[in-house]
Assembly symmetry: C2
Homo-oligomer: 265 residues x 2
């Protein structure tokens, strides 16, 4: 098992503490080298559907941990509380986004039976891209990564169905192969890109108008590269309308104490 450095752990703990205190900012680049995760929490009655959806769609929904009803400390981050330690939460009712909040304590009070899924995040392999000298534009600019709902249907499961969501990073053409190779080493956090080069092939009409996150800045000589994204379960909630759900806000992730290298294939 890989072990995080003391400096990394201090960064992760400080970040979680500041989010718990109310800070809200996208987490790309925070605690460089540690794994980040998407959150989806649903009432126990919907837990099988979500876990089966993840099982049938492992590329966008790699399950890192499942917290059973009454659990909110992640084993990936001892001392954490997933109800408070994410910078921004979304509450969903009948598929509608009804609130964005700094914590999710009220959700757990209303639904003590929430089952929570921590899903791998492509921010995890961004450290590998940066370390290889590949620019990660949204990090450079202090913006959120752009994410898009595609025209590709995921495999349905129980009452859940929906489209694949992807994140996009513009990569210099001569580094695309390296970006594929490096991210491909991390299958548990989305792995290699699902598409390179043609947004329209994914049903993305306007690359400058992402469905989640901030608009990209694509420079001359750069190719848009698309990775499966852990926001995919949110698209399924939007499409399938379970009575209640809590998620992170896209780009505002749960920061764990686990080094990226733990998920190297």
């Amino acid at each position: 098992m890989s072990v995080a450095t003391e400096a990394q752990l201090a960064q992760a703990r400080a970040a979680r503490a500041s989010y718990r205190a109310g800070t809200a900012a996208p987490t790309s680049g925070v605690a460089h080298g540690l794994t980040q995760a998407n959150l989806i929490s649903v009432p126990a009655d919907w837990a099988f559907d979500v876990l089966l959806y993840a099982q049938r769609n492992p590329r966008p929904c790699p399950v890192l941990e499942v917290l059973e009803p009454g659990q909110w400390e992640s084993r990936l981050a001892p001392g954490s509380d997933i109800r408070t330690d994410i910078p921004r939460y979304r509450t969903w009712r009948d598929g509608e986004l009804v609130a964005e909040t700094d914590d999710a304590l009220a959700a757990w009070e209303e639904h003590p039976d929430l089952v929570s899924f921590l899903i791998g995040c492509s921010f995890t392999f961004e450290a590998g891209l940066v370390d290889a000298g590949i620019p990660v534009r949204h990090q450079e600019l202090g913006r959120n990564v752009p994410m898009y709902r595609t025209n590709r249907a995921c495999a349905p499961a129980g009452r859940l169905s929906g489209q694949l969501v992807v994140s996009m990073r513009p990569i210099p053409a001569d580094r695309v192969a390296d970006a594929v190779t490096i991210s491909g080493r991390y299958p548990a956090v989305h792995g290699a890109p699902v598409h390179v080069g043609h947004p329209e092939a994914l049903g993305i009409a306007d690359l400058m108008a992402p469905d989640y996150g901030d608009a990209p800045v694509v420079r001359d000589g750069e190719i848009p590269v698309f990775w499966a994204c852990g926001v995919t379960p949110q698209a399924a909630i939007f499409a399938s309308r379970p009575p209640f759900a809590v998620t992170h806000a896209p780009g505002y992730m749960f920061i764990t104490d686990v080094p990226d290298s733990e998920y190297l294939a």
Copy 2:
């Protein structure tokens, strides 16, 4: 996607048809080169526990397919019926094995909400061992593979807990490394061995008295090699006592139309 040969498909269909008609025999070596699977079916109320148990214990419980309530045709074998096409079934009530039968139609009549899990089986990579000239003793002798409940606890999930079950093949010492390498290429069907050489380290008091299957024949110069086994969920049922479950009988597997090579990593 790999495609099975017509000859393989004919063997698989003939085998399923004969099991449907009432034949019962262990399936090791049947339809050489096609994937075999373990079955566990539970009422919908227990489905999340089983799927989570599999997710937390992927080595013994690699999920190949989940059939939702009302489904009994496996996508891994078009035209199949998982209620009839396995040579022998076991019915469990409150953790007790209460019947072994040639079909499971009565179980589905009693519990139309059964959710079924097809779990990878080490018989799948036996073709690779045979093709490499490594003897597979129980096949040679027309016996069932020996399986053992170990002293290793699986990660619990919801109401389910239990011990790891392993299958054992005696391998000539000079071929152990090859057997590790070949099986390691199939992580979705248990992959490399979990243990080589010392049954007592797994809590196996008497190698000649397996908990499931037939007693082994170990020859001079052979080492007992242990692989994680898809009977592990049956040990969890035995230990955790859900009100109802149906499984295959150990060694009497579901034969799919999917080539082993589909599960090459």
